[in-house]
Each structure stands twice: as C-alpha cells, then as structure tokens.
C-alpha cells in the first residue's frame, strides 16, 4: 500500500459517492469545455465563410463589371451614332462610379482614371464629328459633280477611318479647290486625333487588364485565405477532440488505478489473511492498515477473529492437558496411562521391541498419612512423583499416578538389564530423599518404595490389563519380600 496511514479513515461509500460526483463534474466540465471550444470554432468557421464568401462574390461581381466596362469602351470606340455613344458613356459612367465607393484606394483611383479616359474618348469623338461636319459644310459650297461625290464619300466615312495617307483617291481631286487647305487641315486634325485615340484605347485596355489581374489575384488570395482558415479550424477541431478523448481515457485509467490500489488489492489481502488464520501457529495474524473505513473494519474483525481462534486453541490445549494429568503430582493420570500404555504396546508390537512396565508403591504410606497428616502425605507423593518423572525423559516413556500411593512407569525399547538398573536407581533415589516438616524442621521423614515390574516382547495376544496385573503381582511379591526392593513378574 503506497498510501500512508490516514489519521481519519474515509468511508468507502462516501468516497465512492464523492469520486463519482467528481468524475461526473470533471466529465461535464471537459465536455462543456470541448463543446464550447467546438462551438467557438464552428462559429469562427461560419464567421470566416460569412465574411470571406461575400467578399469573394463581391470581387467576382467587380470582375464582371470590369468586363462590362471593357465592352462599353469598345462600343464607344466603334459606334457611329452620337446618341448611342452618349447612352453608352452615361451607363459606363454610372458603372464606374460604383467603384469609387469601394474601400480600396487602388480600385477607386484606377476607376477614376478609366472614367477620365472614357470621357476623353467620347469628347474626342465628338470633336471629330464636329470637324467632319465642318469639312462637309465647306464642301457643300461647291457644285461640281466630283466634289459632290467626294462630299458623299466623306459623310459616309466613319471618323475612325479618316486617316492621313489612307484616304480614297477621289480626295486628290480636291487639291484644286480654293478652300482645300481648310478641308485638308480638318482631315489631318481628325487623323491626328485618331492616332491619339488608338493610343488611348491601348492605354485604357491595359489599365483594365491591370485592374482585372489585381481583382483576380485578390480573389485567389481570398479563396486561399478562406481555405487556409477553414483548414486551420478543422485542425483545431481534431486537436481538441484528441485532447478531450485523452482526458476521458486518462480519467478512466486514473480511476482504475485508484480502484485497484484501494479496493481490489486490500480485498485480496483480506481474503489471504482470512485463509492464513487456519495455518496460524503461535502468533495471531497482523494485517496492514487499510485506507477505507469499511475495509479497515473488516481487517480489524479478521485480526480479532485470528486472536479469538488463537485463544480457543490455547484453551483447548489446556483442557486436554487437564483431562490427562493428575492434579496433585503433575504426572499422567490413570485414564491417560491406559491410553498411552495401549499406544505403546501397539507400537512395540509393530516394531517387535520389548516394553517394561514398572509399578512403584510407597511403603507404609497409610501410617505416614496418619502420623503427619494428609498435607505431609501429599508432599511425599509429590517428591516421589518428581523422582519417577526424572526417569521418563525419552520419547514413549511415561510416568503416571496409578492411584493412591501407587505410580506406574512405562519404558519402551529397553533392555532387560537397563530395566533392572533403572528400577534399582528409582528405589535407591526414593530412599535417599529426606522430607522435613514445615512447622518442625527437626523432624525428618525418610521413605522407601517397593517396585514390581514386567518386561516382555509384546505379541498380539497380550493385553494391557494383563501386563498391569503381572506388574501388580510383582509389586505384591516385593511387598511380601519385605519392602524397599524390586521384583520382576
């Protein structure tokens, strides 16, 4: 658990509720934020198209107008009729005027120049018309057929075709006329004006060409800007979508991590702890503290349960001991002796080894009891029990209080001579123990014991009570032989 032990443990239910609320809030906030951004981008895209598209359309319209102006200029140049020419000029003028309101200095100034050119073209044509009429007027004073023919020719000739050196040959006949100079001067003037008009037409068309190139590149630039802007917006939408999705994924991962560390793992450790109780030995299960209050309560319960199990096992042990042990001497009681003897006989039979059973009885114990009292008698029993216990140290050996002042010692896997030796050693040690009275240290008591034993290889027909009986008979013999001795049965 990477989490530190908190002073106050939060409740899982409250935490889950709060976490869910926080998650929902974060989710809603990020959704709201993303939606806001998306809406902003959408609005901006819309704005871009609403701003730029009309501009594009407007530029396109201006291009159309420029084309129309071009055709008006041609019409004004080619048209013969003065009224028609005036109509075209007036229309083109209104059309060009509309450019003066454009918020574009270049366009406005070029429009103004074009308008000036058109007016100039129209006024030159007017002047040519006047000059032509004057020449015709001069010619009408003559009545020679050749002159009348030339006059007809001149009035039929469009102004733009009156050019020096390109006049019909009939005009050569006019040289003889008295007012030839007057006519020639006017025709030459018209011709000069025509050259001027040609230059002007080229100039004006070049100017129109420039304006139209300007508008075209302007439109292209705007279209490009529009495409770039929308492209950028789409890129931003993509970026925001990725960010938004990442936030959601990270949030889920974070929650999963938290869930795993604060819920899954603790629950697994709790289950493991619960299972470990069965195997617990001399100590109770201790688990690490957990973050959430509910889980920690479960942990505490498991620890408490482990403690309870531990205490119950101990009590069981004590109860079992109590049921086997003689309360006064601490040796095995009669019941346990019977069980253990049967067990040892079975074992001896399985392994084909010998078993010895000793019966030890304190000599003249009744007299001792009567003389010094039961308390001293009990003390004597304890002393003898202690001696006998000293000879039951190997596995399988058992010292027991058979009843009253009679003790039993089981010695398995032993040689016959060893039995004798041990029996003699017990008798000897018992006789050497001196007991002093508590209230009168001058009085000392010495005891002797009689021992009867049986030593045999056990076979299937042997029963525990027969063995006991045989040992008891041997004890009886020892008593009969004068006590403080050992007899074999």
């Amino acid at each position: 658990m990477p989490l530190k032990r908190p002073a106050i443990r939060p409740k899982l239910s409250v935490t889950v509720l709060v976490a869910s609320l926080v998650f929902v809030v974060i989710f809603l906030v990020s959704v709201g934020f993303s939606l806001g951004l998306l809406r902003g981008i959408t609005a901006k895209t819309q704005e871009t198209s609403q701003e730029l598209l009309p501009e594009l359309v407007h530029t396109h319209n201006n291009l159309l107008k420029i084309e129309q102006i071009r055709s008006y200029i041609d019409l004004i140049y080619w048209v013969q009729n003065g009224n028609l020419e005036r109509n075209y000029r007036l229309e083109s003028q209104v059309l060009i005027h509309s450019f003066l309101f454009e918020n574009d200095p270049f366009l406005a100034s070029e429009a103004s120049n074009i308008l000036h050119d058109i007016r100039e073209i129209a006024s030159i044509r007017q002047l040519q018309r006047t000059l032509q009429n004057e020449a015709i007027q001069v010619l009408s004073a003559y009545h020679e057929p050749t002159v009348i023919k030339v006059r007809g020719l001149l009035s039929a000739l469009p102004q733009r075709e009156i050019r020096e050196g390109q006049m019909p040959s009939a005009f050569d006949e006019l040289t003889s006329l008295s007012s030839f100079e007057e006519i020639e001067q006017r025709i030459l003037f018209i011709s000069d004006l025509n050259r001027q008009l040609d230059w002007m037409l080229i100039d004006t068309k070049a100017r129109l060409e420039r304006v139209s190139t300007y508008l075209n590149s302007d439109a292209a630039l705007k279209a490009q800007t529009l495409a770039t802007d929308i492209g950028k917006d789409i890129e931003r939408i993509t970026q925001y979508s990725i960010v938004f999705m990442s936030i959601v994924v990270l949030l889920f991962l974070f929650l999963f991590f938290i869930f795993k560390n604060t819920l899954l793992r603790p629950i697994q450790s709790l289950v493991a702890g619960l299972k470990a109780i069965e195997q617990q030995g001399n100590q109770t299960i201790i688990l690490k503290p957990l973050f959430f209050k509910e889980l920690d309560t479960i942990r505490e319960s498991i620890e408490d349960y482990s403690g309870l199990v531990f205490r119950m096992q101990k009590t069981n042990q004590e109860l079992e001991n109590l049921s086997r042990i003689d309360g006064l001497t601490g040796l095995a009681n009669r019941r346990y002796l019977d069980e253990a003897l049967q067990e040892e006989m079975n074992r001896a039979m399985r392994h084909q080894h010998a078993i010895a059973l000793l019966m030890i009885d304190i000599d003249h114990f009744k007299r001792l009891n009567d003389q010094y009292g039961h308390q001293v008698g009990d003390h004597c029993l304890k002393v003898i029990a202690q001696v006998i216990k000293g000879y039951s140290q190997r596995t399988g050996e058992l010292a027991a209080r058979f009843g009253g002042e009679e003790f039993t010692l089981i010695l398995p896997e032993i040689t016959h001579s060893d039995v004798w030796r041990i029996a003699e050693a017990i008798r000897e040690e018992c006789s050497q123990r001196v007991i002093y009275l508590e209230n009168d240290a001058s009085v000392s008591i010495q005891m002797t014991v009689s021992i009867g034993f049986v030593y045999q290889i056990v076979d299937a027909n042997d029963a525990a009570d027969i063995l006991l009986k045989t040992a008891d008979q041997a004890l009886y013999q020892a008593k009969a032989a004068g006590r403080n001795c050992v007899c074999e049965g």
Partner: protein, 252 residues
C-alpha cells in the same frame, strides 16, 4: 441549435403566413414617382424595378400581395399606422427611419450624383456648385445631405424625384441631386438629351445608398420571411432578370 431555432421559427412563420393568407393578402406600399424603380407608364400602370421585385418576392414567399400606392412623404406614417405591412420603395436605412420600421437586407445599391446642363457647369468640383440652385426629393438621403452641406436658400426640396426633374427642365433649378440610376434613366430619355452628369459622384456617409425593404416593427417572422425571399429570388436568377430589364448592369 441556432439553425434548429431558425427552422422552428421558419415553420412558425410559414404557419403565420398560411394563416394570414387565408385571412388577408400581404399589403405592400409602393411609391410611383421614382423611375426606373417605380413609375407610371404610358398606359397609366405603375411599373418599375421595385414593382417587379415585389411580385417576385411575394411569389417566393408564397403569399398573395396587394399593392398600395402611397405618397413618399406619407409612406412611413402609413406603415406605423398599420395600413400595410411592407414598403418596397427604394428606401435607405437611417437611424431616424429605424425608429418607425425594421429593415430587411439591402436589395440594391446606388450612389448619388448631380445632373445639370453640361454646357454651363461642366467639369466642376462639387464645392464649386454651392451657389447653384439644387433640387431633390424631400425626406430623402440626398435632402439630408444637402441640408447639412449646402446653403439652405439654394436648396429646393420637392415632393418627388419627378418634380425635381421637371423643375430642372423648366430651368427653375440648375441641378438635381438624386440616385444615379434614376438620373441615368432621365438622361437616356428624350427630355434628358441636353443634360449630363455634373462633377464626380458624392462620396459621403450620408449618401450611402443601400435600398432596403421596410417591415412593420415587431414582426420578426415577417422580416425573416422577406430576407429569405430576397435570397431565394437572387438564387433563382429572377433578381438578375429584373435588374437587366431596367438597368444594363448589376446594381446588387
């Protein structure tokens, strides 16, 4: 979201219009003294660009229209009084007029220019024209401009564009200031033969001449329908057809 709202509004509007279609036709005020937008032809019929636009717009909106001929000076009063729902009479949008009416998107653009005798006043800058007698229609953008910039004693505010032109022909005034399209119409007529544009067109914020349709105040659904109708007739090409019929170039 806004689109959905718009769609819902549009459906409400259709409902409104279909209800009003059953109830009464949409009444549209026209003016009749402003050629080529609105004038009386030889047979006594009121015709012109505005009239054709009205027909096309009503068809696009899917409503039946009834045209009412109203004097220019009375035209806004009648709208406020509820005599009709729309004014289609080449009306420019000014803050003053916006108090009495809502305005649609513009449906054509023009500029203002002087007309007079070119032999007398040719090639003059408009500042040189201040001593001349100038006529224009009253309650127009041009009249506002003249009052603001020219000596008042020389300004002649007449009832309509046609009256101003009459005054010019009779020699009662030296110049007429008006919308370039109307002026062109006059110059191309038989009466206009001897006249011409004088000086450069006037570039002034008072003369930003965008023509709008005036809609009765507080009828947003009608305003929306008019704007949608204008878009529709521009997309279907009807607008361009009408434009070409009266003016040889685009005035949108």
């Amino acid at each position: 979201m806004r689109r959905i709202k718009r769609k819902i509004l549009f459906m409400w509007m259709l409902l409104f219009i279909s209800v009003s279609l059953v109830a009464a036709p949409l009444r549209v005020a026209i003016e009749g003294n402003y050629p080529p937008f609105s004038y009386v032809d030889d047979s006594g019929q009121v015709v012109g660009f505005d009239i054709d636009i009205t027909h096309a717009l009503c068809a696009a909106m899917g409503v039946e229209c009834e045209m009412v001929l109203v004097e220019w000076s009375e035209i806004l009063t009648g709208l406020v009084a509820g005599d009709y729902e729309l004014i289609i009479a080449s009306m420019g949008k000014t803050p003053e007029r916006e108090k009495s009416a809502d305005f649609s998107d513009y449906y054509y653009r023009a500029h203002s220019v002087f007309v007079g005798d070119p032999k007398l006043h040719s090639k003059k800058h408009y500042d040189d024209l201040k001593h001349l007698r100038i006529a224009t229609g009253k309650d127009t953008l041009q009249s506002q401009y003249l009052v603001a910039n020219y000596p008042h004693e020389n300004i002649h505010l007449l009832n309509s564009h046609d009256e101003a032109i009459d005054a010019l022909i009779k020699g009662e005034v030296d110049l007429v200031l008006s919308n370039s399209i109307s002026q062109l119409h006059f110059l191309q007529s038989a009466d206009g033969e001897n006249f011409d544009f004088i000086s450069e067109p006037l570039v002034n914020e008072l003369l930003v001449d965008y023509a709008h349709i005036a809609v009765r105040k507080n009828h947003p659904e009608l305003l929306l329908a008019v704007n949608e109708g204008l878009k529709k007739i521009r997309f279907t090409g009807q607008y361009d057809q009408i434009n070409r019929k009266y003016i040889p170039f685009s005035i949108y």
